[in-house]
Symmetry: C2
């Protein structure tokens, strides 16, 4: 890999009832989603059921472009901030991060609560949230 | 972007006294690092000083290869786990994540405590840790 760019590939995809982007992460707080890990990465879930919470890192693959200074959640009544001081999906690298509650593991499918990503979102990493 | 891969570019780089990879994240817990954001992304830090903690997402650019099932921290006395149940730098996408304490902001340079990344590590995203 060069110092100029890094190429990442999906390790799985989000499955839920949200087909469209939502601006309000509160909508997702109680939502149950599945993460279907690709078969070749399924062994990576071994003993993950021992963790109550996970970090899910994913790509906002439907996000286009970005601005460096924005109103959080597009709400013009909120003071502007730099994009790195927000969770906007429109950012230099369209990477999302959510702490989810792990509800269950069945084969290569995780069931989680609180993932603020829409159906079909590519997941690039899963880590235990243990510290 | 296609569904097969995603290309990310550094938004900045880590500066600290750790030139080599360490297997023990505890070593880094009290370590102060700087993150120098590239000039074209510096506006993205506007008002970030309002947050006590940040998520730093970076690339383990010196990590090579991966195995799906490993002993955490390479310690054979610890039960094996899938790589997604560990923080190993040797993972399908070599992406690292740390919650750091924000100590200060000066121009395009963040001063943080607790970043477990070595000197020169490319940073791909910075987010507030506020929920």
């Amino acid at each position: 890999m060069s110092k100029d760019s890094y190429t990442l590939e999906p390790v799985g995809f989000v499955e839920n009832d949200f087909a469209e982007t939502r601006s309000d992460p509160d909508v997702f707080a109680g939502t149950v989603s599945h993460i279907r890990v690709l078969p070749r990465f399924a062994d990576g879930l071994f003993r993950i059921e021992g963790f109550e919470r996970l970090y899910i890192i994913y790509v906002f693959d439907r996000s286009q472009g970005f601005e460096m200074i924005i109103h959080p959640r597009g709400d013009v009544t909120r003071p502007e901030r730099g994009v790195f001081a927000t969770h906007s999906p429109r950012r230099p690298n369209p990477v999302g991060l959510t702490v989810v509650e792990l509800l269950g593991v069945e084969g290569e499918v995780l069931t989680v609560r609180g993932l603020d990503a829409v159906d079909g979102t590519p997941v690039i990493d899963i880590k235990p949230c243990d510290r």
